[in-house]
Symmetry: C2
Subunit: 311 residues, 2 copies
Amino acid sequence: MAFDRLIENIVKMQNPTVAGLDPKLDYVPESIKKRCFAEYGKTLEGAAAALLEFNKALIDALYDIVPAVKPQAAYYEMYGWQGVKALSDTVAYARSKGMFVITDGKRNDIGTTMEAYAAAHLGTTDVGGESFDAFGADALTVNGYLGTDGIKPLAAICSEKDKGIFVLVKTSNPSSGELQDMKLDTDERVYEHMGRMCESWGQSLGGKYGYSGVGAVVGATYPEQLKEMREKCPHTFFLVPGYGAQGGGAEDVKLAFDKNGLGAVINSSRGIMCAWKKQGLTEEDFTQAARSEAVRMRDEIISSIGKIKIV
Amino acid sequence: MAFDRLIENIVKMQNPTVAGLDPKLDYVPESIKKRCFAEYGKTLEGAAAALLEFNKALIDALYDIVPAVKPQAAYYEMYGWQGVKALSDTVAYARSKGMFVITDGKRNDIGTTMEAYAAAHLGTTDVGGESFDAFGADALTVNGYLGTDGIKPLAAICSEKDKGIFVLVKTSNPSSGELQDMKLDTDERVYEHMGRMCESWGQSLGGKYGYSGVGAVVGATYPEQLKEMREKCPHTFFLVPGYGAQGGGAEDVKLAFDKNGLGAVINSSRGIMCAWKKQGLTEEDFTQAARSEAVRMRDEIISSIGKIKIV
């Protein structure tokens, strides 16, 4: 349960990374856009078709070497329900290729409303006795500002359906400290308090490899905090943004892992999607460039952390 | 700009309330479901059609006496992209009737990703030079855990397009205190700190009536904090959940208003959608029941706060 399937993918591929699918239309090669606009017009439907084709090509290029993908919901929502359909189709396609899918939605609410998000993204929806996967991802990012009432409604689905969540703890952006680094009168900082809540929420959702179904988002851009949280949250699996474009390097992300090389998955979005730019290729070579960047990133991280072992 | 249009609606109707559209399929009358399932089957599409028909009937029953609606995104997402299309159609229908639409999505992210959410819900999306409203609401609820990087990307749209945001400050749920009530070593509590950030974020987004485009969610279930925040955040318009079903009464929500009866809009979701149950009517009378509950709520609040004035 929990993140066991993600961990097994990581160990099998010896690759603790996740490819972010944040498909801005600007990133999509002209040839794809041209074809989709010809078929559907310069419309939300046309844009959504282009995003989906772009994503599928990336997934085809990555699925045998990268264990997971992380579509970012915002980039689909901006293309309306048509874009949201492309999100749903992307999730289904990645899962059909065996990838672990983390929907990055940072959803948050309470009670039955949070149950609705859980059903939407991780569970199933009942319609008059018939059951449907609305989006059907393996994990969802969530925001814990509302406390236990916003997390508990996900627990049943995580446990029954073998799914996981990543709670925002210490985010990678420059202003994350405005709230997250504030010191409480208990002497903890807000992000530590949130990390401790993750450990507590995860207690009833233990997995085979020592990590619970409640993970945490901890950014690569704050290596000290990453190290600190790795020590303080030994059962919490980390989703680590901020590698590459945002400035985090292999020595920074190394701090997210335990001594067996487990405990974290490192995200790269633009670095992989737009790899052709850095490699001096044309945009038509984006899949080949994405694959070689994914290999480079894997090798860089593995050479830093060593062989990943399940013990 | 900002919440001026909402305020004008409120003053004109002498009604500082918003009807929450959280359409669980269980709340939709059998006759609507039967018709939609006959046309589309017991499918996500059939469910979405039923939600939309339910919402339209509620909007028709309320639009001349209630200034705003608040669709809750989770209840649409759980029905997949088909449900999300129903959200989009609901927003458009309510706006066509002159209602101010607050999409309750509690979205949060940073930089270009938050810009994508802003475009999705409040702004427009460009597709090869053509411009589209993806969802096109007037305001969006957001979560400020990520700090300024998560709020600033919304400012341009709020200012250019006459839109607003409501940042979660003190939520109405029982566990909201687990983080929000924690005391910082500055002697402020987390919710006060967040409230102060709202005042600061709103400085460049001032409106005609003294309230900025950055509002706050403050629950009716914590009247002391509601009173405190009203005093400490004089330029921040409040969206107040927790009235009715969650326990907040008219004397509690009174504390959210300034001396002119401005400064807040009080939400009721189930109370209005399921009013027929309380009134001993059949579900086929849900629109009539919703309207009379909206009138009762309006009269109760107005008798508590007095006539609402723009000064």
